[in-house]
Subunit: 371 residues, 2 copies
């Protein structure tokens, strides 16, 4: 990742990001009416005003470094609600036809894309072309090829691309990673991730392959997969996977209901993961090494996360994940801060390559090697 | 399973079991110097005086219905120790050459075979031919074919064959099964079993394929497999499996170190299991249904087992597993009692068929269907 200085050097070369730079020079924008915090606030437009978009915006009210200053939505009534709730002027409101014009809006530094998975690719590339920083909800795309195109487009446009991996900033998660890095667990042998829930409304976009790009694996299994990588601290060497479908009516062709997948790591560590849209009471990470173990349960829900190691309970305080995420992402974008766990587009592509391999392993009924 | 009356009718036809019958008629045997408990005590010879044999014998000191009255061992010094500890007369001591003569010993009703896995087949058949009831430690054999031959031999000899599934009598385990049967968990969706430990001494028989018949799967993975069956309450429809070996020096050809296996059940429920000789901190069962869940952790060690469900902690008292097992097995053999979970030879064969399929799935790198 580039240092802040390098980043700033780069963006001064790009007229497309001038509004963002101008904001850094002009501290008295109409959106900096709260404490200036070193004058650097990430002004964010939310694209997609669904339930998770709402959750992010509400959490951002407690942010010190990030603020909702715009919206992009296809639903005028939602835009109205948001305008009054977050004091957003008409000129910062866009729909899916006209949002390329955000390019010329000096009140918006970044766009957080919180739309159905299959739409991310085109939307992120359009935002990049408009010269705005991009935050994209996970999964960043529906396959690795699309993800890589998004990374390339953002590079070309000299904007950052971050992926909404909120767990990468979660204190108990980071404590487990610190312990692992310090060698206190010894050689890591095994990780288990079980993520899933019983999904409701069968008409929602998550169960529509055209919008979701898949099923539980894309939406919730990715937490186990991503967790396997950051908990073990290695990149997978191979995957095996098996799908179970008990309700083909609800989970149509291409929409996975339950997938069990196993991951092998170069060190010999193994991971066993479960991804499902058809059961509750999961959301558990477990890792054991030759000297100790860690359990997070719940591991990835909105918290509080609970956890313990062989030494006892983890006591790091709960903080609203999206608040921490957006403050940290502001620091990454504005200051070039290096997060402990990466949240950039390349990280997103790594997950998608493995998801591609998991789907391939299911299709072939065989282990798939990763390069 | 036969009722006691049917059982007694059958054994009266067999001169081979006359000593056993005689004991029931003659309450004042030299081994019935403790309370007579309805005159029926199962008098057991332990075959194989290793660490688990010792554990069983010690636990049996608290039994009300079973008693150690004989030993079979290839090590004279061990026999001496046991004789003094358990007050065993010379005439009840055998070695592996002469134990067929146990046939004519009226002080011994049953033999508990606690020897290396690969020896069970021949030894159990010899015990059956000697007309004694047989209890065989798990795995009952090293493959299903051998297991079935043992079942057939015991049937032919009109003796019972029980397998040392001590968890089948464990109170918290049985409580979870009661709850499941009562429908309180709703439809069962998923079971997870993780059993294993870091095995020590590389020269022990468990790591010698000729004696063990395999590796962790035979010895400790069988708990997860067997647990999957009794917790879900169905017989598997298919398995997938994958082996990981990090130390081929210690875990030689045919001796598995770590196996991940998945089981599909006809109802659509899935199980994910881990069997290992190379990590600790495991020993967890987890099951979730549409209305509730259960966790046992530790699930299969010598206890106390700990567990909870969606309704809270399980509080059934701990009892030494082998004490309960041997009292219950005495009731099965002497009274024809029906256990809640089967512990007969057929149950052992069911596990071996699935272990065969797991090894086949690893070899083929593909899912294996079970009939």
């Amino acid at each position: 990742m580039t240092s802040r200085r390098h980043f700033l050097q780069k963006i001064t070369l790009s007229t497309a990001v001038l509004p963002f730079l101008r904001f850094n020079e002009n501290t008295k924008s109409k959106f900096s009416d709260h404490e200036p915090y070193d004058d650097k606030i990430l002004r964010v437009a939310i694209m997609g005003l669904g339930s998770y978009g709402n959750r992010v915006a509400e959490a951002m009210q407690a942010c010190k470094r990030a603020k909702v200053t715009g919206v992009i939505s296809g639903t005028p009534s939602k835009i109205k609600d948001w305008q009054s709730k977050y004091n957003i002027p008409d000129k910062n409101c866009y729909n899916y036809e006209n949002f390329d014009a955000i390019k010329n809006n000096p009140d918006i530094d970044a766009v957080y894309v919180i739309t159905p998975n299959a739409l991310h690719h085109d939307q992120v590339i359009r935002v990049a072309k408009a010269g705005k920083q991009v935050i994209c909800e996970k999964p960043m795309a529906i396959n690795a090829k699309e993800g890589q195109e998004m990374v390339d487009a953002c590079k070309k446009a000299n904007v950052k691309l971050l992926v909404g991996y909120r767990m990468h900033f979660e204190p108990k998660t980071l404590e487990v990673i610190r312990i692992r890095k310090d060698g206190e667990f010894g050689k890591i042998m095994f990780f288990q991730g079980q993520t899933g829930f019983t999904i409701g409304d069968p008409t929602q976009w998550r169960l529509n392959k055209k919008l979701s790009g898949g099923g539980s694996m894309m939406d919730i299994g990715i937490y186990s997969l991503n967790g396997a990588r950051y908990m073990v601290g290695e990149e997978p060497a191979w995957v095996t996977a098996h799908e179970t479908k008990t309700n083909p009516e609800k989970f149509k062709e291409g929409v996975d209901e339950t997938i069990q997948f196993e991951i092998g790591f170069p060190s010999g560590a193994a991971a066993s993961c479960l991804s499902t849209y058809n059961m509750n009471n999961l959301d558990r990470f477990f890792m054991t090494g030759q000297k100790g173990f860690a359990e997070l349960w719940p591991a990835t829900n909105y918290g509080p996360i609970k956890g313990r190691t062989n030494k006892g309970e983890l006591t790091q305080p709960h903080m609203t994940h999206q608040t921490v995420q957006m403050d940290e992402m502001a620091a990454i974008i504005l200051d070039g801060k290096q997060p402990i766990l990466p949240v950039d587009g390349e990280e997103g592509v790594r997950d998608l390559k493995i998801i591609d391999a998991i789907y391939e392993a299911i299709k072939k009924g065989k282990r798939v090697e990763l390069k």
